[in-house]
């Protein structure tokens, strides 16, 4: 069977692909975190007030994805029960060892920011609630019921500081994932200093895209009209970041082609064979070309809001796919060719099983469940709550 799966020669230990669908999902989810957080920071730090309608949503989306960003890794580890070794005995010569601390730091940071942003809501809930609910909100407020104007002004400033710290942290969180791949000299498909930047850009792009899609869905469910100014701004950001992202991706490829090093022949074979569909067709042609043009139209041309939103939604969905394909092509693609540069192997995720498609789908759905539950505890949408919040 293994003979059927492989072409050419591989080292005998390379026939099986070690980093599975879960490792594709992991950078995808962290990317969404980083992107969503950047959007919330555009409002909190850079004062893009038109983004206010999605400011809370984006922050909570970042948090929900962050909660599940590490689960694919746990499902992949040979010994998930030893996962904390990465924080107990981290060895900082490894790009991966930063994960535990960066991740925890960032999780705490986002939690704190959420706390400050939602504090007035929590306090209001604690005041109007009864019995157990009251106690719950009281604990959430850490027993401090101070929502005076001074306290809120202070909260506002802390939020800004946290969001400001959060931007570089989000960049580190995702840039590090890129570095993890980009720093492996053993793999010519990964080893490029551009990798962290590409990961970062595609992260921002995917984060904005999922916010747009999520915003539409929520508005549909709630039966409210989406905020046009907010959406227009999101489209513009999406377009801008996507142009940078795509340029870098193409630049990386161009450099490889042009330099034509020893490894290029196997990469050319890879791209024209195993990755023909997922890279060449999906990532580079369909899911890049179409959104690039559509978003350009959406941003530059005056058009009917309905049409604009349709085009914007289609572009966002395609970009979500593009980024997923990019993660797939990096993670899986990098393992499909032999380090002897003489052969290719295959990978198809199983449906069931610990690292299968079903598990990936469940893990990817969980953040949305978290968002739903969060919304029940603390309403995400401004019109649902006493208009007290200025953050």
């Amino acid at each position: 069977m293994t003979e059927l799966m492989t072409q050419g020669f591989l080292f005998p230990n390379e026939i099986e692909v070690h980093w599975s669908l879960m490792i594709v999902l992991y950078p995808y989810i962290t990317g969404l975190v980083a992107g969503a957080f950047i959007v919330s920071s555009l409002y909190h730090v850079f004062g893009r007030t038109e983004l206010k309608p999605v400011a809370r949503f984006s922050l909570v989306a970042a948090f929900s994805f962050l909660l599940f960003a590490c689960t694919p890794l746990l499902f992949h580890l040979g010994h998930p029960e030893r996962a904390f070794n990465i924080m107990f005995t981290p060895k900082f010569t490894s790009a991966m060892s930063g994960f535990g601390y960066i991740y925890s730091f960032y999780l705490l940071l986002v939690l704190c920011e959420i706390w400050f942003v939602f504090r007035p809501t929590i306090i209001a809930k604690a005041r109007e609630g009864h019995g157990l609910a009251k106690a719950f909100y009281w604990v959430l407020a850490l027993g401090s019921m101070d929502d005076s104007a001074e306290a809120r002004a202070l909260d506002h400033r802390v939020t800004t500081v946290l969001a400001a710290i959060g931007i570089p942290s989000a960049c580190v969180l995702h840039g590090y994932v890129g570095f993890l791949f980009g720093s492996l000299k053993s793999n010519p498909w990964w080893s490029t200093p551009l990798m962290p930047v590409i990961f970062l850009m595609s992260a921002i792009v995917s984060g904005i895209a999922i916010l747009i899609v999520g915003y539409f869905i929520v508005m549909k469910v709630r039966g409210t009209e989406p905020d046009e100014a907010c959406l227009k701004s999101l489209y513009a950001y999406l377009w801008g970041f996507f142009i940078i992202d795509l340029t870098l991706e193409l630049l990386e490829l161009l450099t490889m082609v042009y330099e034509g090093e020893e490894s290029w022949s196997i990469i050319a074979w890879l791209l024209s064979d195993k990755l023909w569909f997922s890279y060449t067709t999906v990532q580079m042609l369909i899911c890049s070309g179409i959104p690039l043009v559509l978003l350009g139209l959406v941003t530059l041309k005056k058009m009917d809001p309905l049409l604009r939103n349709r085009l914007g939604l289609i572009s966002s969905a395609l970009i979500l796919l593009q980024v997923f394909a990019m993660r797939w092509n990096v993670v899986i693609g990098g393992q499909l060719f032999s380090k002897s540069l003489r052969g290719l192997t295959s990978y198809a995720p199983s449906f069931l099983g610990r690292e299968g498609i079903l598990m990936a789908a469940i893990l990817f759905t969980m953040p949305f469940v978290v968002m739903y539950v969060f919304n029940m505890i603390l309403p995400l949408w401004h019109d649902d709550q006493p208009e007290t919040n200025q953050a």
Binding site: F11, E16, G78, P90, V161, K185, S340
Partner: protein, 246 residues
């Protein structure tokens, strides 16, 4: 008022940061005592590609000695057959464990030879560099080893090894690889693959041991290593390595 608050915030931040750093500093940077660690790289493994007959006894013996799971290889043999037209055919059926079959178009072959492979126990091993939890390390004697009780099974080292020498142990779910038979060598024995090699294609010993057959070869022969460009400084030396071998 405002200033006061800012002051307070600042102080709170610094206290938190400083405290955290101090605690982590105290706990996480042990081993300052002897910084060099007295690590030596005196052991060398020598592969003579001119001698190997591709019988696969080494692969089988390694599996038995180290209880290597099926489909995983701590050592394996590759066969290169370079055609008259320059085409390169490489094969390694079951890592060469059951020997090799004759090739169909033997007349078109310009040169062909076997190349045994194993962990290179590099001086600058990037598998050790990338291990996030300190589960793989270089022993005092220069052997690159894996601590199966510490390994989390992330597979990063497997990706990092330029030689494909590492695999995920199917039973232990930790990274695993050739140890140069550390347990044997430390008892004064030869690695199992060296012991069973019928033609002396594998040699092992200390560079400073004049009784070792390796000593003479190291002195007289021109030697090569695999992928020197990685900067890993492999300690498996090859005699008669062809340019096609990667």
């Amino acid at each position: 008022m405002d200033n006061e608050r800012r002051q307070f915030l600042k102080q709170a931040c610094w206290t938190l940061l400083g405290g955290g750093l101090m605690v982590s500093g105290a706990l996480s940077i042990p081993g300052r005592a002897h910084a060099s660690g007295g690590r030596q790289h005196l052991y060398v493994f020598l592969v003579d590609t001119n001698r190997c007959i591709g019988c696969g006894k080494c692969v089988a013996a390694c599996r038995k000695e180290n209880n290597v799971p099926q489909e995983s290889y701590r050592t394996w043999i590759e066969r290169y057959a370079i055609g008259n037209d320059g085409t390169v055919h490489v094969d390694s059926p079951h890592g060469g464990e059951h020997g090799f079959k004759p090739l169909p178009n033997a007349a078109d072959i310009a040169r062909s030879f076997f190349v045994p492979k194993l962990c290179n126990h590099c001086k600058q091993p990037n598998c050790v560099q990338v291990c996030p939890v300190g589960a793989t390390y270089v022993s005092k004697e220069g052997f690159v080893l894996v601590d199966e009780r510490q390994c989390v099974g992330c597979g990063y080292c497997i990706q990092a090894c330029p030689y494909g020498a590492r695999y995920m142990h199917a039973v232990r779910h930790t990274a695993d690889k050739c140890t140069w038979c550390y347990h044997r060598v430390m008892k004064g024995m030869q690695p199992a693959c060296v012991l069973v090699c019928p033609v002396g294609a594998r040699m092992f010993g200390r560079i400073d041991d004049q009784r070792s057959p390796l000593y003479a070869v190291m002195k007289q022969e021109k030697l090569q290593v695999l992928k020197p460009e990685t900067g890993n400084e492999p300690m498996v030396h090859y005699r008669g390595l062809d340019k096609e071998v990667r």
